[in-house]
């Protein structure tokens, strides 16, 4: 039985065609080119809503993202290094070969996202929702993950070397090849053993 998907635009209840995430009302003006140029040209990216789009090869270093809604997006080979994020939603998104090194992120949402080959090295990820993510080959080393949540996350070949894990919640997570060397795991919450 097939699923009927609704338009990803907030509060729109129209159904979408196969292969599209937006209904015809919202597809026409919400182009990738429009949002790509908007984000690369401005330093402050505030209150933009761009659900359901695929972004490739973007240089978004040293930007400020505030109150942005990127639900159900795809980011391939994009670079957000040294950027600041506040209250941004990237839920149900796909990230590939993308870097978030030395970012400062607070109260952001990545729940249900798939993350492959992502570099978060040296970042402050404070109170970030990473629940139910599927992360393979991610590097969080030397990051502050204070009060973030990885509940029910699948983490494979993930580096968390020398991280602050105070109040980080790994409940019901599946972990394989996660390296916690030098991190304060005693201050994090675990209820499952690592998969061998």
């Amino acid at each position: 039985m097939f699923d009927l998907d609704y338009c990803s635009y907030p509060d729109c209840k129209k159904k979408v065609r196969t292969g599209s995430r937006l209904c015809e009302d919202h597809q026409s003006w919400q182009s990738v080119e429009h949002f790509s140029s908007l984000m690369t040209e401005k330093d402050l990216i505030g209150d933009i809503k761009a659900p359901g789009l695929t972004f490739k090869n973007l240089d978004l270093r040293n930007k400020r993202f505030i109150d942005c809604y990127f639900h159900h997006t795809q980011w391939i080979n994009c670079h957000f290094d040294r950027s600041i994020f506040q209250m941004c939603f990237f839920d149900e998104s796909v990230f590939m070969d993308t870097s978030f090194t030395k970012v400062n992120m607070k109260h952001c949402v990545f729940t249900d996202s798939v993350m492959t080959n992502i570099d978060w090295h040296g970042s402050d990820l404070i109170s970030v929702n990473l629940n139910n993510i599927h992360a393979v080959n991610n590097n969080f080393s030397e990051s502050d993950l204070y009060y973030s949540r990885f509940i029910a996350a699948y983490l494979k070949d993930v580096k968390m070397i020398d991280c602050n894990l105070k109040r980080v919640d790994f409940s019901a997570s599946q972990r394989k090849g996660v390296n916690f060397k030098y991190s304060n795991t005693a201050e994090a919450y675990f209820d499952t053993e690592e998969i061998q």
Partner: protein, 196 residues
């Protein structure tokens, strides 16, 4: 409408500030503490706190009201008549309009008898009844069943794009919480069956 999140390490709680775009009368949700940075946030945006919404009568959600009332002539709204000697306007399920904002009041008991969820647009201020990946704590299995029933009937039936802003931890979405809740609840039931 603008929305701001203020985190305080005292009680590890979130306070939310809702106000018009260009300053004026504003609403505070769950001021667990009133510190200099929250005051600065209010004043920098030219807000005057006219209304304070309390999700439930636990001190880490209302401890700041005494200080707020020394600065602003605000009305405190709660499900109880009094909070540490301060009288409140008692709320029941329904809808009210505060500073031109329509607020829906949803009673969700279980974590406490007086827990209220406030909906403003597509934002749900859930206090302690639901946070990212976690349902509220309950004293026993009976109240847990009650809380789950309330969440399933009153929150998980809502539009999935609804944004959940809890009293503690990062934000989330209704859809994400519904998905993770099904998984976590199955695990909880399995654990309880094996213990029995």
């Amino acid at each position: 409408m603008k929305l701001f999140n203020h985190f305080t390490a005292v009680g590890f709680s979130n306070t939310y500030l809702i106000g018009p775009d260009k300053g004026g009368d504003a609403i505070l949700v769950d001021p667990g503490t009133m510190d200099v940075s929250l005051l600065k946030l209010i004043e920098d945006h030219n807000y005057y706190i006219r209304h304070v919404l309390i999700t439930h009568a636990h001190p880490n959600h209302f401890r700041g009201i005494k200080t707020i009332l020394k600065i602003y002539d605000a009305t405190i709204y709660s499900k109880v008549e009094e909070l540490e000697g301060i009288s409140c306007k008692v709320l029941e399920e329904g809808e009210i309009t505060l500073s031109d904002q329509k607020i829906e009041i949803i009673s969700v008991v279980g974590h406490s008898f007086d827990s209220l969820v406030y909906r403003c647009g597509h934002f749900f201020f859930t206090g302690d009844v639901l946070s990212a990946g976690r349902t509220g704590t309950t004293p026993d299995r009976y109240t847990r069943a009650l809380l789950i029933d309330e969440l399933e009937n009153k929150l998980f039936t809502r539009e999935g794009h609804g944004i959940l802003l809890p009293g503690h931890g990062p934000p989330s979405t209704i859809k994400a919480e519904k998905n993770i809740f099904i998984h976590m609840n199955e695990e909880y039931e399995k654990q309880n069956q094996s213990e029995a």
